[in-house]
């Protein structure tokens, strides 16, 4: 049971991070290969504040998200003015720099040994509720002027500008929202595992998240969440297959990207309306049976 619970917590945390990267790499179409660094910032800032300064969990978490936002502003301001492909490089460099910084500042972060002794505060309830709230926030973002402008500039930046869309500003809003959400995922992570080390937050993590959103479909939040759940729990569920599980994971991903390039869900979104219809349909069926 503990094992399943821990999978659920990790999956929820991944889902949060994925909703974050969905905003910037899915909707806005900017590859952020340094996204894991925001998770690292969230995890380390909150962790250090809790361990060295004995701040309570909510305060440490709140400060950590703010620092994540600040870091997002510092990296974002120059980076989003670059051409698309260079944004991937710039964020990649930022991510690796943060990992290196964490490795080097031994006196504060414990360096490669990691930071341990963080109190365990994240439980299954907090993780799942947080994930649901993040999904709600990103859903609202997608169906608003922000979401539409993000998709518009992703599809055609020149046309977006000529419609009066302030491309730099919209990209910045998306970048900051994504940084804050990802930093929050880091906070939950640190307070669940009680131990963090820099190697967890290198670019492979960011790349994994990008794979997840492409797997689910870059236009579909439902897809991103579904893929986040599936691809995080799949390696755990396949644990019996020992080293083959990575191979199976990769094959699944390759098959999807090859045969369904728009992702599993494409443009499809699960909505409350859909549930309502389904519920109505079910009720009617029951009525007939009576």
């Amino acid at each position: 049971m503990d094992f399943i619970l821990s999978i659920m917590v990790f999956t929820s945390i991944t889902v949060i991070a994925v909703t974050g990267i969905f905003v910037i790499s899915g909707l806005t179409g900017l590859f952020s290969l340094g996204q894991a660094a925001f998770m690292a910032i969230g995890a380390y800032v909150a962790g250090v504040l809790a361990v060295n300064y004995h701040l309570s969990f909510p305060v440490a978490g709140f400060v950590a998200v703010l620092v994540g936002l600040l870091a997002g502003a510092i990296v974002g301001l120059p980076a989003i003015r670059l051409r698309r492909d260079y944004i991937a490089l710039a964020t990649f460099g930022f991510g690796e720099a943060i990992a290196a910084l964490l490795n080097q500042s031994v006196s504060i972060t414990g360096g490669a040994m990691g930071l341990s002794g963080i109190p365990k505060k994240t439980g299954i309830e907090l993780a799942v509720i947080s994930a649901l709230i993040c999904i709600f926030i990103v859903r609202n973002f997608k169906y608003s002027k922000f979401g539409r402008q993000c998709i518009a500039l992703r599809e055609d930046e020149l046309a977006a500008k000529s419609m009066g869309i302030n491309v730099t500003r919209v990209k910045m809003v998306a970048f900051l929202l994504s940084a804050a959400i990802t930093a929050y995922a880091g906070v939950l992570y640190a307070f669940y595992t009680t131990y963090v080390e820099p190697a967890m937050f290198v670019w492979t993590k960011s790349a994994e998240w990008i794979i997840i959103i492409y797997f689910g479909g870059i236009n579909s939040l439902t897809g991103a969440v579904f893929a986040g759940i599936l691809l995080t729990s799949l390696p755990e569920v396949l644990r019996f297959a020992a080293e083959w599980r990575v191979v199976i994971y990769c094959i699944v991903v390759i098959f999807i990207l090859n045969f369904r390039p728009s992702g599993v869900f494409g443009e499809y979104e699960l909505s409350f309306n859909w549930f309502r219809k389904w519920w109505k349909h079910l009720k009617e069926k029951k009525g007939v049976m009576r």
Partner: protein, 254 residues
């Protein structure tokens, strides 16, 4: 008062002088045409006016505003709208959302209103939706509002682009070859549509077009470009009889 005034703009790419010393003025409710052979620099004029390229010299005024050094999106907000020669719609968005995206920069709510789904946000979203529907209705595409633009015929895509451009409530609308690729019936439709919007919406229109029936039907005044220079300007009748223009289009007799 001139709605748009262009004073001697020039633009070169490397050694190629795409536009040399182009000037024009537009009055209210004006329809003006720019014609000329391929490569005459017509689209470059549009790109300079709408701010895609920075001009090498010259000035541009929109009403009383000097927009010479304004960014592309600022010019759009001030009232310069355009369509593109090769249609550029937003593929990931529905027809309605394509038009809404042009209205979104005017929506007055911020990210916190958005996250909390506040009343202010819902009111603004409602306004944008209603206005978008009105513009789709205007070009006759309201019944396809939930479709994706790539599923539309070429003629409808052109109309959607015009609806999207109108949504920013422009003072000046730049149409870059709106009739390209349309069949004769669609061309007649388009002429009627352009006439309708110029009358109903109180805006001035600048058209680049190769289909002479469009230009001659609609335009009060025409500028003829060749190799980046204005070789003639005048009313449709004057242009039709102009020797220089005939030479540029048909070549010279030996």
């Amino acid at each position: 008062m001139n709605v748009l005034e262009v004073r001697g703009i020039s633009k070169s790419f490397g050694g190629v002088k795409a536009v040399t010393d182009f000037s024009m003025t537009m009055k209210e409710n004006d329809i003006i045409g720019v014609i000329g052979p391929n490569g005459a620099g017509k689209t470059t004029i549009f790109n300079v006016i709408s701010g895609v390229y920075k001009q090498d010299s010259g000035q541009i005024f929109l009403g009383e505003n000097d927009i010479t050094n304004k960014e592309q999106h600022e010019r759009a907000r001030l009232g310069v709208a355009r369509t593109f020669q090769n249609i550029r719609l937003f593929k990931g968005l529905s027809l309605l959302e394509n038009v809404s995206a042009a209205l979104d920069p005017t929506a007055r709510y911020n990210i916190f209103h958005n996250i909390l789904l506040s009343r202010k946000m819902r009111m603004e979203e409602k306004r944008i939706k209603e206005e978008s529907e009105r513009f789709l209705e205007l070009v006759g595409l309201l019944k396809y509002q939930a479709e994706k633009p790539e599923n539309l015929s070429y003629g409808y895509q052109r109309k959607l682009e015009i609806a999207r451009a109108l949504a920013i409530k422009p003072k000046v609308l730049l149409l870059d070859e709106p009739a390209a690729g349309l069949n004769p019936k669609e061309v007649v439709d388009l002429i009627n549509l352009i006439r309708k919007i110029s009358q109903d919406l109180d805006l001035s229109i600048l058209i680049i077009e190769h289909r002479m029936e469009v230009i001659m039907e609609l335009c009060r005044f025409i500028y003829v470009q060749n190799f980046g220079k204005t070789i003639a300007y005048g009313t449709p009748k004057e242009i039709q009889e102009n020797e220089e223009v005939i030479k540029a289009y048909l070549g010279e007799e030996d």
